[in-house]
Symmetry: C2
Subunit: 282 residues, 2 copies
């Protein structure tokens, strides 16, 4: 996410200077080689010097640790934005930042299951919704600056409060991940005595299981910082799945047909809402 944003900003000539910060020297070299930044460093304090906008683009709990660390450092007056996938825990941590820093929670809705700088794509944000979660102390000017940044890389800013965001993504992002993971684990369990299962797995399995390939630490941070909402959504899913299983077990074809038809209608309605770039694989 961070690499893609840096690339979009740098390659599009959208910022005076794009500076990357990474823990490992190899990542610094890679960012330069991939033309993702003007300059990169392993030194956070060096990168912060003179920054107008600071973007935290790591897994959620690492973002929270960075915010705590930044709160103890000398910071320039800046807009501090994060790209984390859950928002309540992050905006809570942002409250502790010094008064001259303008914090703003944010979440671009365009992740891939692949991670790392090698997978960076400057077009990742095009047409994607990008949620903004302002704090009470976030000024209208800071919000406008963030909106300008987001629109510059082709995304669509959308202001939500943190709790509503976390609840929505529990349903449309974290639930699909857990379902994909359960699917892979069940197929592996059933396939323990029949390796043919993997050979036969076709596009249906491929798509439904894709999210199970997501980065584990990233997803664990998401689940652990959104436990209440994810648990509630999973409880609904268990109930719905149990209901479908019961209808099938009892051979109750008519109510089963009604539910499958309803799901198909909703999925078709959703597919028709997708921007053109997504239609080919909808």
């Amino acid at each position: 996410m961070g690499g893609s944003l840096a690339m979009a900003l740098y390659q599009g000539g959208l910022c005076r200077e794009v500076v990357g910060v990474a823990r490992r020297p190899e990542t610094v070299q890679q960012a330069l080689a991939l033309q993702a930044v003007h300059y990169a460093t392993t030194q956070l304090s060096e990168a912060l010097c003179g920054a107008d906008i600071v973007v935290l683009a790591t897994p959620v709990r690492s973002i929270i640790r960075h915010i705590q660390q930044l709160s103890t450092m000398t910071l320039p007056p800046c807009l501090l934005l994060d790209l984390g996938s859950t928002k309540q825990a992050i905006v809570r941590a942002m409250e502790a930042l010094p008064a001259h820093v303008q914090p703003l929670g944010s979440h671009p809705m365009c992740g891939k299951e692949v991670s790392g700088l090698a997978a960076a794509d400057p077009n990742l944000y095009r047409d994607a919704p990008w949620v903004l979660v302002p704090l009470a102390r976030t000024s209208e000017a800071s919000l406008d600056l963030a909106r300008a940044l987001i629109q510059a890389v082709g995304a669509r800013p959308l202001v939500l409060d943190a709790a509503r965001h976390d609840w929505l993504v529990a349903a449309i992002s974290h639930l699909p991940y857990v379902l994909a993971t359960a699917l892979v684990l069940v197929v592996a369990q059933l396939g323990r005595n029949d390796a043919m299962v993997w050979q036969l797995a076709a596009s249906g399995f491929r798509d439904t299981s894709r999210l199970a390939g997501s980065d584990v630490e990233m997803m664990l941070d998401i689940l652990m910082t959104n436990r209440t909402a994810v648990e509630e959504v999973l409880t609904h899913a268990l109930s719905q799945l149990g209901h479908l299983t019961g209808l099938l077990a009892r051979g109750e074809e008519e109510p089963l047909r009604a539910l499958l038809t309803r799901a198909r209608t909703l999925r078709t309605m959703y597919a028709n809402m997708l921007p053109d770039r997504d239609l080919s694989t909808s």
Copy 2:
């Protein structure tokens, strides 16, 4: 499926004559317009006349009705193949065919969630596994003829018995469909008071829910003719999902990390097995 096979055979010049049979005159016209067949008709008896290979390409229970209907008609000596997605009920029905007909159950593993002749694609079968389920009465020569047909359209024939096939597809095809359906129903239920849910749904939801857009009558036939296996697999899925939910609810991070890591390793292993054409969207 039938349209794609006809197209591959006709456009590739792989058969002396490809004849389509459809219930509706419009489909007959469409098949000719799309260059899927040499000739098409709504009259089954006319199409059967002189046929060497008869392919039944409808939903499973409709295939079974066709087999019953064919058993009462004057049939040429031919190979009778079906493309149905479950096999036990179909090969059982095939037992009643006259002795001069060579029946063979089959299932190409390359469906799309879109159906109908307009979605036909002559390259659909390329590199796809195509399961063959011979009956006791199926001759080696008939099996070889089917293998030749399958290889001619680029697929990979694979002989399995009916029960094993049905159990495998319950896990890798029918379970993903039911999970996708449950996902869409849960998101719709949770989103009843917040339409934002559909606007935020990104690629993760899109891919995981894709199968819920499948043709309902086709899927209902599949589920109703494979109830025992699907129910068993769904029971495993409910148990796995309940386990993941429990770990999350209790905040048991280490066992959760272990399961997510295991699922990711398996999904990566599977992605590495996919033919090249699939890698871009794995």
